[in-house]
């Protein structure tokens, strides 16, 4: 079974990811700007909603899913993201490239709630909540998942348990105290195991896996999580050529179903999967378009491709 087939197979058994029901767009007066980055999570639920006009303007005329609206992040005065706006469409596979320090990882941090921006907001279509006001786990529950630059899996758990923890479902304390694994869930884990080629290792502790196997396990965990948006930071770093091909296949297969954002330095890899490429530079979008268009953009050549 190729990765593509298995990805399809996986899609077939699982119902389409649970849509977050769109609440009627409510218009609220703009709440006061939140203070700086995570100083202290306040006790009261913060559900700042997105400005309606901006919402319309950004999503109009396209199948948008995730919008990053005028986000600025500064570290001690240095702007890692500078008034950055980015709209991702549903089912799109977007590659983000840019020189070191361009702000690619910071952008993912903002989207997943790890870094709170100084200004700007992030929202998903169909939901007017400003994601920058939520905690990481709440954002994850809304279907935004990320793969770290280094593989992070639960080293002390078996591969099977790693996947079990990733499954969607109720994630509260009491729910998991009394949680039982249904047959469907078990099958889903087994299918994922097959897909990432770790079936024989299902009951091996993840800490004992090789680096590449951990990479796959983490990807498997993301798939098991059934995300709507998948953020992948440098997925092929440290992979062999063959593994790279497999990853490219897998990502290509996933796109269409889910929105996938890939940050990558490896140009060959980007070319093999890219449909739309966004070039970041100094926290701003330098260029956006097809790989060819971007590659021929003189600005891009100057700051990025020209370098190498």
């Amino acid at each position: 079974m190729t990765a593509v087939e298995s990805a399809r197979a996986l899609r077939d058994v699982t119902p389409a990811s649970p849509e977050v029901e769109a609440p009627p767009p409510e218009v609220k007066p703009e709440a006061p700007k939140p203070s700086k980055r995570r100083s202290i999570p306040s006790i009261a639920p913060r559900r700042r909603t997105v400005d309606k006009a901006r919402y319309e303007a950004l999503t109009a005329g396209r199948k948008a899913l995730l919008c990053v609206d005028a986000v600025t992040v500064s570290f001690d005065g240095f702007k890692a993201l500078d008034n950055l706006t980015l709209v991702l469409d549903e089912g799109e596979l977007r590659c983000i490239i840019g020189p070191n320090g361009a702000g690619k990882t910071t952008l993912q941090d903002v989207i997943t709630g790890k870094t709170k921006p100084d200004s700007g907001c992030v929202f998903m279509v169909g939901d007017h909540t400003d994601l920058t006001q939520l905690d990481e786990h709440e954002i994850a529950q809304r279907g935004i998942c990320r793969k770290f630059q280094r593989p992070t899996v639960f080293q002390g758990h078996t591969v099977f348990e790693n996947l079990e923890l990733a499954l969607p479902g109720s994630k509260g304390v009491f729910a998991s105290l009394f949680a039982r694994l249904s047959r469907a869930e078990r099958e889903r884990i087994e299918r994922t195991l097959e897909l990432i080629g770790l079936t024989e290792h299902a009951h091996t502790r993840a800490g004992l896996l090789s680096h590449g196997q951990k990479q796959w396990l983490e990807i498997g965990m993301l798939l098991a999580q059934e995300p709507r948006v998948l953020l992948v930071d440098e997925p092929v770093a440290g992979m062999t050529h063959k593994e790279m091909e497999r990853t490219a296949e897998l990502l290509n297969a996933l796109a269409g179903e889910r929105t996938v954002v890939v940050v990558e330095h490896d140009m060959e890899f980007v070319r093999s999967i890219a449909r739309t490429v966004t070039v970041l530079h100094e926290g701003r979008v330098l260029a956006e378009g097809s790989m060819d268009a971007v590659q021929n953009d003189p600005k891009v050549i100057e700051v990025y491709l020209g370098e190498s």
């Binding site: 100083s39 202290i40 570290f75 941090d109 790890k114 870094t115 280094r150």
Partner: protein, 537 residues
């Protein structure tokens, strides 16, 4: 008679010493001071006390002290420590012939005291008069009421008058003369001396029949305004006092925490035995003191100067030993380090108990650190506290210098910022770890030396500081020397200001609660885990 002597003095001034402004004190009178005939001595005192010459004053003062020596020619000298003779008559710098000591007994003292006081109050020099009046005001008029009264009548300077009135106040308050009571209250109000609080309060009280003890309404008004002046003054000095004690406590905390700021702040080693490194410093001081008392009793006072390097080195050696034998194997495992160092602290405490006994040992302040500057009776700046404040400033400067201006400091900072990179550049991280920990421990030892000067030295000394020290370091922000400084002083001052309001225990609890809340508000000052760093761990 005095006028005759004055005339002679004047004559002498003109005839014998035209170059100096003053004449000699009559040597005959001086010689008479050592006469065996008591009447002659008294007469000489009387005649000298009529003099306006500051040297006469010096001679009588020496007599009162018992240090007066007179040679065969009637030249006066004051015996100083170590047997030296200080000439009180510049014309005779060296004694001629055998020197006799003037005897003084209580009867003469009773004669001398008012005489000297009167002389000083009569002095042409305003400062002398003022200091005499101030002393009197502090001691109370006592038998000298008449002398003071007379001086007050002649005095023109307001400051001196005020002091004199204050000296008379205890007598005046009891007086039936309204004017004198008012004068006393005015003086008390100006001085705002808390010693008078009860006696002034008494004036405002009612007796059993519900009438004021003080019948005169004007006096009562004066009394109540004097009372509020006293209260205000007490408040200010109380505040000042708390501030001073706060700064002094702060510098103690600083000394206790500074070593921790290095070992924990820079190296991230949770050293629960830090308190016992203080203990090592304190007991080193004790040992040095004992050695000095035994072998160099003459220089016993200077033991402290030796205790400082000894305390530093002993704690440093202990720290380096710990680093080599235990901590080195636990880097990167903070919770394990915490437990292991706790074990070390238990062992050190028990060792101290077995060697020095479970009781506190006495570490005496050297004489140059005992006593203090008395600002008001209830507010004394003790020298030992002042010394500790100064000492902590020096230690902070030392640590700063070491970290910022020495090759070792450079290496320490390099290793703490990026261990791999530093290692790659050829820095021996193991050596740097060893020395960093050693110096942090040594600084703790210095803290121990300072603590020994302020309080009891016992096996549990260190335990009392461990929580506080961690709080200081955590509050100040890990790895920031300036933060540690601010946190220690801030905590010390807040602690001392809270103490009178809430009591020592509740004050301490309030501070702990405050700290926990503070950590809530500003975790980023405490956790370097920000952004990228968190991702890896």
């Amino acid at each position: 008679m005095p006028s005759i002597f004055a005339g002679i003095l004047l004559l002498a001034l003109v005839v014998f010493a035209p170059s100096t402004a003053r004449a000699d004190v009559p040597t005959g009178d001086v010689a008479a001071l050592v006469a065996s005939d008591r009447a002659e001595v008294e007469r000489a005192i009387e005649s000298l006390s009529a003099s306006h010459d500051p040297r006469a004053l010096a001679i009588l003062s020496a007599l009162l002290e018992g240090s007066l020596r007179v040679d065969s020619r009637g030249n006066a000298f004051a015996a100083r420590e170590g047997g030296a003779l200080e000439p009180l008559n510049p014309a005779a710098p060296r004694p001629d012939g055998p020197v006799r000591a003037a005897e003084v007994d209580n009867r003469l003292r009773r004669l001398l005291e008012p005489a000297i006081a009167a002389m000083r109050l009569r002095s042409d020099d305003r400062d002398v008069r003022l200091s005499a009046a101030t002393e009197l005001a502090r001691a109370g008029a006592g038998d000298l009421a008449k002398v003071i009264e007379r001086a007050l009548a002649q005095e023109a300077d307001d400051d001196v008058r005020e002091k004199l009135a204050l000296a008379l106040a205890p007598v005046d308050l009891e007086s039936t003369d309204t004017a004198r009571r008012l004068r006393a209250l005015a003086a008390i109000k100006a001085a705002a001396d808390p010693a008078f609080r009860t006696s002034v309060q008494r004036l405002l009280e009612k007796d059993e029949r519900g009438e004021y003890r003080e019948r005169n309404a004007e006096v009562r008004r004066a009394a109540s305004s004097a009372l509020s002046a006293i209260e205000l003054h007490a408040l200010w000095f109380g505040l000042l006092g708390h501030l001073f004690y706060g700064v002094s406590l702060g510098s103690v905390l600083l000394l206790a925490a500074l070593g921790l700021a290095i070992t924990f702040g820079l190296m991230r080693v949770i050293n629960m035995a830090h308190g016992e490194l203080l203990l090592v410093g304190a007991y080193s001081t004790f040992v040095v003191q004992q050695l000095f008392q035994k072998h160099l009793p003459a220089y016993a006072d200077y033991y402290l100067l030796f205790a400082i390097p000894v305390g530093f080195l002993a704690a440093m050696a202990m720290g380096m030993l710990l680093e080599r034998t235990v901590l080195r194997f636990l880097y990167g495992r903070p919770l394990e380090t915490l437990l292991a160092t706790w074990g070390i602290s238990l062992i050190l405490i028990q060792t101290v108990r077995l060697v020095f006994g479970a009781q506190n040992v006495t570490v005496a302040n050297p004489s140059f650190l005992s006593g203090g500057i008395e600002l008001t009776p209830e507010f004394v700046l003790t020298y030992s506290r002042i010394a500790v404040i100064a000492f902590s400033a020096v230690v902070v400067a030392f640590v700063w210098f070491m970290l910022q201006r020495t090759p070792l400091g450079l290496n320490v900072r390099a290793v703490t910022q990026n261990r791999e990179m530093a290692a790659g550049m050829g820095i021996s991280t193991r050596r740097v770890d060893l020395w960093t920990f050693g110096i942090g421990s040594g600084v703790a030892g210095l803290g121990g030396v300072a603590l020994s000067q302020l309080g009891n030295v016992g096996p549990e000394l260190g335990q009392g500081y461990i929580v506080d020290s961690f709080m200081v370091v955590v509050l100040g922000g890990v790895g920031k020397l300036a933060g540690t400084l601010a946190a220690a002083l801030g905590l010390g001052i807040v602690n001392k200001l809270l103490e009178p309001v809430a009591g020592a225990v509740l004050g301490k609890i309030a501070i702990l609660v405050f700290l926990i809340l503070f950590i809530q508000r500003r975790p980023q000052g405490i956790f370097a885990l920000k952004g990228r760093a968190a991702e890896v761990s």
